[in-house]
Symmetry: D3
Subunit: 278 residues, 6 copies
Amino acid sequence: MDKNTIHRRILAFLQEDIGRGDLTSESIFTKGEVGRANMVARQPFLVAGAASVAAEVFKIQNKTIEIVEVVSDGTWVKKGDTVLAVEGPVVDMLKAERVALNLLQRLCSIATMTRRFVNRVVKYSVRIVDTRKTTPGLRVFEKYAVRVGGGSNHRFNLADGVLIKDNHIAACGSITEAVNRVRQNIPHTLRIEVEADTFAQVEECLQCGVDIIMLDNMDLHTMEQAVQAINGRALVEASGGVTIDNVEKIAKTGVDIISVGALTHSVESCDIGMDWFG
Amino acid sequence: MDKNTIHRRILAFLQEDIGRGDLTSESIFTKGEVGRANMVARQPFLVAGAASVAAEVFKIQNKTIEIVEVVSDGTWVKKGDTVLAVEGPVVDMLKAERVALNLLQRLCSIATMTRRFVNRVVKYSVRIVDTRKTTPGLRVFEKYAVRVGGGSNHRFNLADGVLIKDNHIAACGSITEAVNRVRQNIPHTLRIEVEADTFAQVEECLQCGVDIIMLDNMDLHTMEQAVQAINGRALVEASGGVTIDNVEKIAKTGVDIISVGALTHSVESCDIGMDWFG
Amino acid sequence: MDKNTIHRRILAFLQEDIGRGDLTSESIFTKGEVGRANMVARQPFLVAGAASVAAEVFKIQNKTIEIVEVVSDGTWVKKGDTVLAVEGPVVDMLKAERVALNLLQRLCSIATMTRRFVNRVVKYSVRIVDTRKTTPGLRVFEKYAVRVGGGSNHRFNLADGVLIKDNHIAACGSITEAVNRVRQNIPHTLRIEVEADTFAQVEECLQCGVDIIMLDNMDLHTMEQAVQAINGRALVEASGGVTIDNVEKIAKTGVDIISVGALTHSVESCDIGMDWFG
Amino acid sequence: MDKNTIHRRILAFLQEDIGRGDLTSESIFTKGEVGRANMVARQPFLVAGAASVAAEVFKIQNKTIEIVEVVSDGTWVKKGDTVLAVEGPVVDMLKAERVALNLLQRLCSIATMTRRFVNRVVKYSVRIVDTRKTTPGLRVFEKYAVRVGGGSNHRFNLADGVLIKDNHIAACGSITEAVNRVRQNIPHTLRIEVEADTFAQVEECLQCGVDIIMLDNMDLHTMEQAVQAINGRALVEASGGVTIDNVEKIAKTGVDIISVGALTHSVESCDIGMDWFG
Amino acid sequence: MDKNTIHRRILAFLQEDIGRGDLTSESIFTKGEVGRANMVARQPFLVAGAASVAAEVFKIQNKTIEIVEVVSDGTWVKKGDTVLAVEGPVVDMLKAERVALNLLQRLCSIATMTRRFVNRVVKYSVRIVDTRKTTPGLRVFEKYAVRVGGGSNHRFNLADGVLIKDNHIAACGSITEAVNRVRQNIPHTLRIEVEADTFAQVEECLQCGVDIIMLDNMDLHTMEQAVQAINGRALVEASGGVTIDNVEKIAKTGVDIISVGALTHSVESCDIGMDWFG
Amino acid sequence: MDKNTIHRRILAFLQEDIGRGDLTSESIFTKGEVGRANMVARQPFLVAGAASVAAEVFKIQNKTIEIVEVVSDGTWVKKGDTVLAVEGPVVDMLKAERVALNLLQRLCSIATMTRRFVNRVVKYSVRIVDTRKTTPGLRVFEKYAVRVGGGSNHRFNLADGVLIKDNHIAACGSITEAVNRVRQNIPHTLRIEVEADTFAQVEECLQCGVDIIMLDNMDLHTMEQAVQAINGRALVEASGGVTIDNVEKIAKTGVDIISVGALTHSVESCDIGMDWFG
């Protein structure tokens, strides 16, 4: 994550939550009044975005706010642990609190869920990856949380990866034609990925030199056959309907990559509280 | 929702997902190629954001994309129903697809969950309201979905509502002092809300003319007593730990408002697919 | 006023006045040359925006400019008093000078005029409030100056307050219907204000539980009757044609709030000069 | 005024006044409801910014709003005249109303005051010009209103004109040195203007080929002598303390240009009302 | 190139060149005055950016300007040919002229130079690609012109491609370690490219499964040996000191890709004139 | 160049080159790792933009990067000289490197070419000036480099200078009419420049008091006659087809200003390398 990119986004989030000021706190506290607050885990989870995001929210609101204590991303915390402690002007800390919490709760939750998937397949040489099913405006944050959880990222946007899907294929008449058209136009630094629904499509992919074959919504048996047919000539990605319950079975088929939309599209916020001290 | 506000946000979301272009689709389709696509419900849900958000995403990407069919916000759809059908240049429709889906799935889910809460308390004269626990950058959209679901909104940001919390009270020494300081500073168009944890605090609120008393994490019995003590002299809001299972019991205590963070902070995306035609 | 909000606006004002640079000063002074300048009152006035706005203009142009001396907002200065003294790189001080003066002169003027209105009604328990008749782009600054002058703010924008006017009422057929429609849609944190032109309308307002009744352009006699009829059941705001000459008579009717458009729409800049020292 | 420039500014003004929406009007009117409104002069004035600014505000809020009638800039209207009539979606017209009025009232007032100054000196071959004492954020609008009023513009910002003032001269030791330094650095398309407080300074200006000599706060007698001494070898600008009462006497001295800060820094809004029709 | 991306950039370029308006043209032409202008080639070149960029400049300045005639990108024109003909409001056409020309001249020049390189190596199965040595702010335009010229693009930015250079290798101790660290962190959709200066490095690259080996500033003989050693196990890119004179010799070594910084960092504008008609 | 202006642009350039992060370097280096890098001249040139632009790029990317050494703008360096040495966090230095180089190479090249033109005419009292043929988005930087090279700037945009061209004249019927219309509308701080193609036009310019006469594409003989006829009554600018080979002959005709489009539209980047140290 690049600092200037992060900065710009967080500034916008603060503006959304603060509006033209905190009517309540600005009426009650004087400008100079300082205090301390701890963000405390109210359940166990894997930390993501504490130093890199939540702490930044406070610094961007007021650079004199000090980060007294912060747990490193990728650390497990248990109920009662302090994730982040800040000290400084109370009004600005109150202004930053909600945005910091909203982001941190979401990112920790994504990292924790990713870790659960990763742990299920730890015996297999397989990557758990995310999708483009992220929250609009938060992609860079959410994909970071996936990495903290031990997952990897799929492409970030339509310009930094190629994925030829069924309607692309239909428009071209064949996978081969679609791959050829794409190969002419893209940087050589990118691999070409094609979505294959059938065994026949897998074979066409292999013939035209596709780099990654996405097995889309295939049953386990066909998937296993496909992996054997591909036999290392392309990376194999399993996609569609992946859950914590079936992920190990999918991994067992020998695919290289399993993409899981649920890592980011269905996130239940981690419970984190904010304790204030005079 | 104001159109210019919506426009600016959606443009940023599109930029996030598209980057400098869709490498795959721009390689395959010619600029003029047109097609049609339907967003189809893969489960039943309450529609929110179809015409007002998802359709706008397509129009903003390319104003020549036509909205062929769209279900009104607040309508229940069943599995297989078309929520939105669009027709126009394929490349721009593909560029807009993911952002439109990501937003629509989230908003329908929020509306649907809100409606479930609302339905549980339909016998009582009580409002289900949201909180500031929304996704950073999406507040205006998510609060709209809550309204579509039959809920109401709490304040949008720190500048358009007053909520005096425990650390405000601690800083002032008393609720009375906190209320006085705030009342001096705010527009007369705003009500003053105070968070009360105890019965004593409720009584102090009444004495200093608080407009709304938030009963924070109170047990049902105390809550009921508080409601009776207040007796219409202030609006009463119940807050903290509200779930679909306890919401009716809370409503039964006679509170006017129940605020539910889970409406927006823990959303499992509705399942909506995109079917493409030639 | 939130610092990040202020920062963004001032940056735009500086850009407007500086363009791509100060051709004259950059030709004459070297980059390192330092100096000092005093902003001096050339007439008596109430200071608003010295530390919070004018000083910020200098700091935003170049953070090494030091604020040597600054009079607190809400202080009366007399002719010859220094309001703000700055020291630092001359070129950047010259670049910031005009914007700082233009803002400061305007804000001091608004605060001073507000104070004059407030002083006239000091015997009465009444608030002097502003309107939305502010200068486009300067609302947050101008409403701040009103508060410094001892006035209060009306709503900041169409989203953080409700005011039902004659054309809203006409569209609904009745005040009651208009109030009902609005009450369904707005956060419970907001009061509902209705503009009443006649005594009959005042009564309808009371019957449907309006929180604030705006007596619009009423003569003093009717106003007094209305106040008596309302008798504390709603806040009463007098509006329309308020001048420094009639404001006391209006206050005498017993209204709670008097809104004065002239506080911000007709401002004669305070005279403040800039004295430079080597 | 360039359309894209105007557009960007007005969009920001609308955002300031509307926030995330018009709570009142959006609760009362349906999206499709249309109506008509007339902006009516409540006093006589010279129109500036009706078609070019106020009408644009409505179009930018919603391009389907139609401009039914609009008085050309530079036309005198009398009390009761319609300046601008618009027809379209009521909610968007109400959202645009306040910004349109705030701008129009200010611009008409500037144009009217400028015209009063211009009329006083109509017998003399002299220009009335504005200064940089404009409202931050509104310079391009206010300088346009000055032109509509028959005045001319001084430089727009520090980069598109040169004005050597006393502290520049002090830093260089002499006018000659200051002029030389500036002349090296600026485009040949710009004239060099120097502020002269004394007759001796006027003479030095002439010797080093200054293009415009600003006589700053000079008494009428010295001013007249200066004009005679300059004798067409440079343009002469009178500046400082110009009022509607002394402007003719200043013109009589033979100066070419009279700059008047009060055209923009002390503006009493023209009274314009908005009449609504079903 | 995505339309919304292009739009935003062009708007900024227009603002840079127009400032707050065209003083000359706005003084001379009335708002309604229409005319026609032709952009005419004053030398032969390959057209890039006529319809996609220059025409857009005019449309963005004023959408009523019509594109009467435009040569397709990728077409050779000869001296005297019209590349683009526009018709519409003269003032807006004059405002757009310079930006349109500055962009078009640059893009045609890049496309033409790229085509010259491509033609030199037409017998070989090799790609001519660009680098990140583009003009700041114009990358998306310049990389498009390279594609029009028959070249291909290298990565667009540091986030959509991997290139391990000498200082990365030095920091890790070995290519192998560097590749391992990178592979852990990046999307599987990206290939890994490593810069190799020596034959030994090429061998290490092959052993750790590098996808693309960049032969940096190698002499032709070593390059040829490297290509033979690699023998199709990785893509081979030649880089450094490529000129129109040595490009064919480099191609002859059998490399797959030749990257040429000069395509974009040293561009002599094509000569294109603008002819105006009443 | 104003610092805030420069800052905004550089931030955009960094974003273009970095995207959401440097995949390679962020995978290899830890956040804290520091290093040093020198920008070294690989050919002789005149430095422009080292301290003022390239150093700023590093500071904007990360303000803890230290500028260890930097050559002043306007200094000649020879092959092997260090132009700029920076020390700090390696990842941020690598992120800033390409933008800093791309800008510096371009600006040094412009300054060097300008100096070559200036040196050719050093015996004559003539200015070498640039045009609006600059790279879109870089005008403020490129015009600065021209000044460093000893040249002067023509107008920066259409709003800060007047240039009446053939199609303006055609629209008015005569130069006299065009000049009159413009003179009415522009600030008195600007000179009026007219493009003259024939001797007759030069005479009309003199009669209507034009300040600057641009001799456009005139042969040397006519140019000389024109200069003699003008005889100091207006500034004379030669324009069109100026090259390093004919610039001295043009200067000899006695013109005051020679404008050279090639200073900015056809720039071959100076060769500057980046050497890294642990």
